[in-house]
Symmetry: C2
Subunit: 786 residues, 2 copies
């Protein structure tokens, strides 16, 4: 992917921006275990500038609908040719945009590639315009200028004034239904536009087909079928107005659609059935001053009947405030799972915004009756569990799913069941790589369903058929046509002259293979354990001891000649250069350190990573992050380095981890609209924040150990689903006291530098004593796992 870099300078802090907004909320939600309203600290606008790629609109935790403003819907390009500008709008919204095109119902959070943006709705007044127009000439279309001073974004609530139309737009949502509330001026020419062409990563011919029925003067149903990141994707909808429209119509921009005997009708005016590739609809109203027109917009993966049933089940009324309050109550319930005290309000905003972003996906993908579309396009029905979609697994296996094993164990089991259903439906007999909306989109590399499943199995959060799951992992890992796996299985590495990103793939396959081995060991399946333990050592095959870096190896066994360990593109890596990626052996840090010349040399590598200056030419080849997403040559904005700061623990220098973690927490997460240094990647970046600010981190998912870092909070009560509470208490916390002096676990001094999953899940207390200088004697050299 190409790179986008915003040249804007400093932003006002978000809290300032939102101070007025918060007054509007008047929250009545009550947390389960405390009376605190955490919703006020979660700010959906954080990450909406530059590279965060988050969206500010309304959704409930893991909700199917993400109803959010789109500030542009640029074309992807023509004939599949990439338009780099489209990348800015992966989530539909960019804070620097001056105009809003409309409000659509589906968005990814934080991704670096995109899709969705289904069913864009825009209320307008004045002359009917059915083209969106352009940002520099907003009058040329239905889009509207807006000002951030008239904008409010809270969990489950978004509000903005559409200046061009003098309309106040408010959005909220239940799981499967978006609710719009538009306050109109007095107008004879009020309109609501439903643009079925609009979408994200939109391009020539992305719309495969759309179909709309105007069932009566308040109800519209239909579907949109697209060919994009998801190759064969259909979303069904049912849309209803609180007030009957006067007239309606359709603009049909289809030269190549067969008209046949439909020509006998005027399909563009008050005609109730239209279909084609490029449809836009409008609905006309007469409005009194301050009249509110509300819309309920339900979606379904299955059918318009399903969408209607979702609407009736979830929002059987027209009370907008009730939907908002119920949504915020759901958020507060989730936020309450970690009740934190912090030394600053900024930290609290960062924490709950990270919680918010962590719980945006994977998203619900089934109707209220459990029906959903499978990978083979057949309709399936879950039995008591929730089916999820949008698995950004290359990102989220690292920290988000481990976080779910602590904070969302029930949902994580359902996510694994969803991944298993995907496997069952997959003609490739593969677990998901990057899947959404009944499609595998094959984005990124590895088979990182494996660590998600293995982590759950190892941690005992495995209320699914574990042996079948292991079989699925093994079958996935043996697929001969998948991304160099045939070579990897034959030679122990992916040859760089046979496949792209060859080193990244080799390293990640090796880690995934270790996960399979751990799972097999636990399940007593020794042959698999042995096979995959052997494979997990394949990382050694791409280490070039002569230069001290992981390096692309050719099919003939020789090293690639043209090689620059600072560069990313075309160097055998993806989203990380060799300086970073060479450290990616989370399954065996000690062996890796040994391989790379021992602790001293490795320490030098690690130190320089954070302190060196990465020349601009290399940054420009780094993906998906802003300049702020880099510290030295340490790339936090991308995922392959997320464990790196914790590696000092294997070098007997935990204080360097402590120092670096606090530095990263400060530098990479700010309570500003551009506060995220890279794509949030569906919560992975945010999950890193949560674990790291709590003081421990899962360096190797599928291990039951969390490595100690440096907590950034004062106190956290982790209210577990099993009813127990694990408390993180921090003494002498301050911005300067970043060094851990002593740790007590349940009142006893902890000399090892990790805690286990069961220690958390059993409830209890970990207490950190902090200071301004390292306590180099706190842990013994043997205190870390090998």
């Amino acid at each position: 992917m190409s790179l986008f870099f915003l040249k804007t300078d400093s932003k006002p802090t978000l809290r300032k921006l939102l101070s007025a907004a918060v007054i509007f909320t008047s929250l009545n939600v009550s947390a389960q275990n405390t009376n605190e309203n955490f919703v006020q600290y979660a700010h959906p606008l954080i990450g909406t500038a530059k590279m965060g790629h988050t969206y500010p609109g309304a959704t409930v935790p893991f909700g199917m609908v993400q109803l959010s403003p789109d500030t542009d819907t640029l074309p992807y390009g023509v004939n599949g040719k990439y338009n780099p500008d489209v990348y800015k709008f992966c989530a539909g919204y960019q804070y620097d945009s001056k105009t809003i095109v409309g409000f659509s119902h589906t968005h990814f959070s934080g991704t670096g590639h995109s899709d969705l943006g289904d069913f864009l709705i825009m209320p307008t007044t004045g002359k009917l315009q059915l083209n969106p127009g352009t940002e520099d000439k907003p009058d040329s279309g239905y889009r509207s200028a807006f000002s951030h001073k008239n904008e409010v974004a809270e969990p489950s609530y978004y509000k903005v004034k559409l200046d061009d139309h003098n309309i106040t737009a408010e959005l909220t949502a239940s799981n499967r239904v978006g609710m719009h509330q538009y306050t109109f001026p007095k107008a004879d020419d009020a309109h609501v536009i439903l643009d079925l062409m609009a979408g994200l990563y939109q391009y020539d011919n992305k719309n495969v087909w759309t179909f709309v029925r105007v069932e009566n003067d308040t109800l519209i149903t239909g579907f949109r079928q697209t060919n994009g990141w998801a190759r064969t994707r259909t979303v069904y909808f049912a849309m209803t107005f609180s007030k009957p429209f006067k007239n309606y119509g359709t603009k049909i921009d289809d030269n190549n659609v067969y008209k046949g005997f439909w020509k006998k009708f005027d399909q563009e005016h008050n005609f109730p059935e239209v279909a084609g590739r490029n449809l836009k609809m409008y609905f006309d109203f007469q409005t009194a001053e301050n009249e509110k027109i509300k819309i309920k917009f339900a979606i379904s993966p299955v059918s318009t009947q399903g969408a209607l049933a979702n609407m009736k089940a979830e929002i059987p009324h027209w009370d907008f405030d009730r939907v908002k309050q119920e949504g915020q109550a759901l958020w507060n319930k989730e936020f309450n799972k970690v009740a934190v005290k912090t030394i600053s309000e900024d930290d609290k905003v960062n924490f709950y915004t990270a919680m918010y972003h962590s719980f945006l996906g994977p998203t619900t993908y089934m109707d209220v009756d459990g029906s959903y579309k499978g990978l083979d396009m057949n309709i399936y029905k879950t039995q008591g569990s929730t089916n999820f979609t949008s698995f950004s697994l290359w990102d989220t296996y690292r920290t988000l799913h481990p976080l779910f094993n602590v904070l969302q164990p029930a949902r994580n089991v359902d996510m694994i069941k969803s991944m298993m259903a995907h496997y069952d439906q997959s003609v490739h007999k593969m677990l998901p790589v990057w899947s959404h909306y009944a499609n595998e989109n094959w984005c990124m590399i590895g088979y990182h369903s494996v660590p998600v499943i293995a982590d759950a199995v190892i941690k005992g959060n495995a209320n699914f058929d574990v042996n079948k799951a292991l079989d699925a992992c093994v079958t996935t890992a043996r697929n001969k046509y998948y991304d160099g796996l045939n070579y990897y299985m034959e030679k122990g590495y992916v040859p760089d002259d046979k496949n792209t990103s060859s080193v990244s793939k080799t390293l990640e396959y090796a880690y995934d293979d270790w996960c399979i081995a751990q799972m097999a060991k636990k399940l007593g399946r020794n042959d698999i354990y042995e096979e995959f333990t052997k494979r997990s050592g394949n990382y050694k095959n791409v280490y070039d001891a002569s230069i001290g870096f992981m390096r692309p190896k050719l099919d003939d066994g020789s090293w690639r000649k043209n090689f620059d360990p600072l560069d990313t593109h075309g160097q055998g890596f993806i989203e990380g250069n060799s300086w970073n990626y060479s450290l990616y052996v989370p399954q065996a840090p000690a062996e890796m350190i040994e391989l790379m010349g021992g602790k001293k040399r490795f320490t030098a590598h690690l130190d320089s990573l954070f302190s060196m200056n990465l020349p601009d030419k290399y940054f420009e080849n780094t993906e998906d992050i802003s300049r702020e997403g880099i510290i030295g040559n340490y790339v936090h904005g991308n995922e392959p380095s997320h464990h790196v700061a914790y590696l000092y623990n294997w070098l007997d220098q935990p204080w360097k981890t402590e120092d670096k973690i606090r530095m990263i927490l400060k530098a990479m997460y700010k309570s500003t609209v551009d506060g995220l240094g890279g794509n949030d990647d569906f919560g992975q970046m945010s999950a890193w924040y949560i674990f790291s600010s709590l003081g421990f981190y899962p360096v190797a998912p599928a291990s039951d150990q969390y490595i100690i870092g440096s907590p950034a909070i004062q106190n956290a009560k982790i209210n577990l689903e099993n009813g127990k509470t694990f408390e993180v208490d921090v003494k002498d916390q301050s911005d300067k006291n970043v060094y851990v002096q002593k740790i007590e676990l349940n009142g006893k001094v902890l000399t090892r530098n990790y805690i286990t999953h069961s220690e958390i899940m059993d409830g209890g207390q970990i207490r950190f004593y902090m200071g301004a200088k390292p306590n180099k004697k706190r842990v013994s050299a043997q205190a870390i796992r090998k």
Copy 2:
């Protein structure tokens, strides 16, 4: 529609062609009530030359699969522009073609517009070719030359030698599954091609989307979604081979389809999941001399799961001959409903071929579990009944559905239930006009679901909610945006300056309205009876007494000036000129005769219709028929005149009806490949043959009377579903003895010239005594209904 006229000369009679073929059949089927094998008389090749538009392939009665050879799949044109040559191939096959492109699974029978042709399969040997090539250069593609001497077509069985590939192809089918049997030569390079681009009335962008999964080395699943005559149509399939293929691949001709991360795969070779607009697949085999490779190909309106279930339920084995025999047994069961004796074998061939064509549609449209796709694209499930589709109602309301009320009463009820389901699903709140595959295609004019329903109600074959059905008819007839109905309701006619085919529409609306009135009368709904009785007189509003013809009237009430009653196109009529269409008042022949100047003048009109010479320039403007489809200016090849020969009965000259009917039976139905003078129109032409050759005909469906003509058979036992038998016995039958001398009904002389539906359904016998001269005293002037 434009016209296609084949300039070929005389054809060998079909029986000669088929004499060898019949030897192959060795039928084991046994009829229920006789031991006769009627299947041998039904010849699917009749009507495949010139304008018949029938297909020769394999299907069971009312079957969902019509597996038939396509001799060309010409493009419809580009950007919706019509290519007149495509019209020849409405049914995929033209007898004069020299090559076969392949065998596809869905075909309309006898239509004058088209769609379908889904999933073309072609076995080949030699170099793999994935383009069909052209007829003049068959070597340029996978198509093959063939010879009629190597061709056999029977009900449920088709066989042909593919000369270019030295392969013998055999086809048979169950209701939802086509079965192929290909006998290969010894070949290292045998292939089976599955062309997902091919289709009928194919054109630029007709394929909206296709999706294919190679589930294993014998099973393929997927779907094809098209935008054609049916705007939004999807057919799902499951295909299985009797032998595993060695290799397979896909040709993807999609420039505008987004490739995304699928680019990491070689999707063209042995890759199990492909999707796009323009896909062709191939499967490679090595074959021994005379090795048979069989294919079972199931379709579903719902899903690939549905298709697989259909396959497993209907053909759980690989016994090709058993499928063929079971299919032919189903046909014989239907044929046995009328066991006829004829004076010539030609007549018997014509009779059973007409029975065959009459029972080809409407076609089954549901899976074995009753699931089908509705008009709103949702999935519905029937409760005990069969859901049907492909309602060519403008044609079939006249004779085919009345025939079903005698021979297929249970199926006709299910057809009406299917039409009612369509109504329930219709956002237009309309009964079907011309519907197929979950779509209304709006072809032709009128609302002729009404006479189908009314005929069933009047005849007491009404095991459905009759009051709801009446409401549906009324609502349909009051739709203000449908085809001039607003004007018709306001002014009593469709103004010619406001709508096309204004006179045809006015006349047909008036007849349909009479049907509604009859139904309302029977159901005691007097207000509806009165409203629609009034509307049924609207035919008078387009009669211009000054010229003695029905004539287009303008919005201001004046007659259209530029008018030629011999011409069809642009003259206010469709598929019939004013000479023919002026006689279209089947609901009130006596009043029409009065209106048109009384019996004498009307007799002159009618006599001249059959005797005049229609100049070529007028014929060229007549649609859907060959020159043989016309007698004088009487156009039998199109439907509006189908009742006309029976009108002499209202003129006290039944002998002229007798004479004309026998003439039409001889002239318009021949046992040759070009034996049908016009489109068979999904059995309407053939149903006319059956009634007329039995000696009576439903001039006005929704009346319970069948008007007497002149029987052409010697004896017919009509074996009714109620267990009774109605016998038609004809004494002194010969080609010259066309005049009815006397009729006895159940042994008593019949002096009226009609019989009623209950007289047939109660069982009994009608006996005709024939002679070479008219018996002008046989019936009294009062013997016909008013």
